[in-house]
Symmetry: D3
Subunit: 123 residues, 6 copies
Amino acid sequence: MAEETELLARGLEIVRKLWGEREGGTEFPAQKLAPQFFGLVPSFVFGMFWARPNLDLRSRSLCTVAQLAALGRMDELKAHLAGALNLGIRREELIEVLMQTACYAGVPAAVSALNAAATVLGT
Amino acid sequence: MAEETELLARGLEIVRKLWGEREGGTEFPAQKLAPQFFGLVPSFVFGMFWARPNLDLRSRSLCTVAQLAALGRMDELKAHLAGALNLGIRREELIEVLMQTACYAGVPAAVSALNAAATVLGT
Amino acid sequence: MAEETELLARGLEIVRKLWGEREGGTEFPAQKLAPQFFGLVPSFVFGMFWARPNLDLRSRSLCTVAQLAALGRMDELKAHLAGALNLGIRREELIEVLMQTACYAGVPAAVSALNAAATVLGT
Amino acid sequence: MAEETELLARGLEIVRKLWGEREGGTEFPAQKLAPQFFGLVPSFVFGMFWARPNLDLRSRSLCTVAQLAALGRMDELKAHLAGALNLGIRREELIEVLMQTACYAGVPAAVSALNAAATVLGT
Amino acid sequence: MAEETELLARGLEIVRKLWGEREGGTEFPAQKLAPQFFGLVPSFVFGMFWARPNLDLRSRSLCTVAQLAALGRMDELKAHLAGALNLGIRREELIEVLMQTACYAGVPAAVSALNAAATVLGT
Amino acid sequence: MAEETELLARGLEIVRKLWGEREGGTEFPAQKLAPQFFGLVPSFVFGMFWARPNLDLRSRSLCTVAQLAALGRMDELKAHLAGALNLGIRREELIEVLMQTACYAGVPAAVSALNAAATVLGT
């Protein structure tokens, strides 16, 4: 549909900054089950929200990492930690964000997030 | 106890940067019920975590706002929005953080956070 | 922007079926604080998702009520209970959805939802 | 105990409609650890709630799928997706319920639910 | 129905130990909206679970207080704090349970619980 | 840093009562990624909270198990179930705590907790 082109274009520009040409990958079983869903995500998550003015990408990335850690969404956390590194956020900064999660979502939330992060941030 | 003095001092320095001399206020019923708890908070939340190196205060503040919005903790969200303004984070930046919450915690989480924020960020 | 017009039009058609010409109202403090956010909601929640084929509006409405009750989102629950009544879903059906929430989200979640519902469904 | 017979009978009738003669299966480690718990579940979840009048089984099934997706309960989600198919709910309808979860519980909740669903709904 | 009589009798015995003859009260709007729900609660929460052997009432009460604080269910938390006092659990013990919640559900969860508790436990 | 010695000493005394000389183990990937975090946990979780007076260790352990089950924190739940056994809490008591979770956090929370527990409590 022609009307979604611009939203999608804006969203994919952000997606490329976070993950290069991978564009979200094709690896999840969900992507085969509901390809229409994954066609919408770049438009609305990245095109409607991340592409807005008034907040820099670094801050958007850190806030997303913080929220995914607090909510216990480990698959997305790993993806966004990799994206954060691609934006130039340092490994040490990301570890601090995850540690501080203990204060607001409890120690087990921070431990789970740090465990998930170990596969992305190395040890 | 001498050993807790330094943690507390480091924590209170952060508290002052966020909220001036208010130091958390004395207004909550909980503070009368469990004063010992509120003696611990500056030491461990701010002294043990926020006072650590490797991540700037602006980023710690934005991540905290993001997590409190995602977790639906409205009293603390209001307090940390006020603290963020005191650190020089702009009102427009904070609104973006809260809007983007819709992607990761759902639209109702973002609406609740924006409603709570209206009392702090004005309209 | 032309491309968002169609999404918005599809979304607003659903909004009108749920709430008549009210279109979400203008009463929340958040709507003054972040009008841009409330411009996006009809496009993406209702235009991108609810307006899709393959599932009838009655089922979408019941599932939304069920999720809002389970997640403890009381303001949106009340709005969607009113919308459900406008779609012709019966009061007794909605009470059953809320009662059954006890099995999956715990008894307190069901009690909170039923308390919120009392203001919409009458007693 | 004789007194629980009728509740249990009503509950098991629902269980059979959802999963045939499997009756919840015997595969979970929890069932060996706490068999008394799994003796109670058909009585109270299915006997006390699902067996009540005023709401059809199709709607109860869709609402349960919606809540389990929103709450991130993946084992039960898979079981109830299978049950929903047994009730005659179509695969496409279930995918829509899971996609719409993105609006109310966030995109990661929908992705997790769609990933879990892929093993039941095929690809 | 005869079979539910015994469950209910066992449940109401526990209810009386927690709250005397009040038996849950009649004050909530939900109780007018869905009286059938509140007829089930004593049977299944108290009759099926709390009345079981192998764990003393004091421990059941403390664990319930702990869970309601962690989950942010403030109305039920207040009711169960009052019930805990009636069982002879000391005010100081309950405050410790709520403070310790900070470790597992985050500091804001503990603060909210202590605020709610102040109305029951006095200051 | 000298100042944290006493908090740490008090915390490690509790850790030893729960898990013997293991002291939290060294097995998690998170421990390699963020050793500084795991240096803080005994000080603040166990030194600042668990080591406080006014509530016995048995009650602290039961409440922790209850909260971890309600919050779905399975790794920590397993660790604290093992700790509870070391304190002399009986297997049957722990199973009751997990079963009762169904009332406050929903049946799926109880099932997940019982599944996780099966590896620690045996079958």
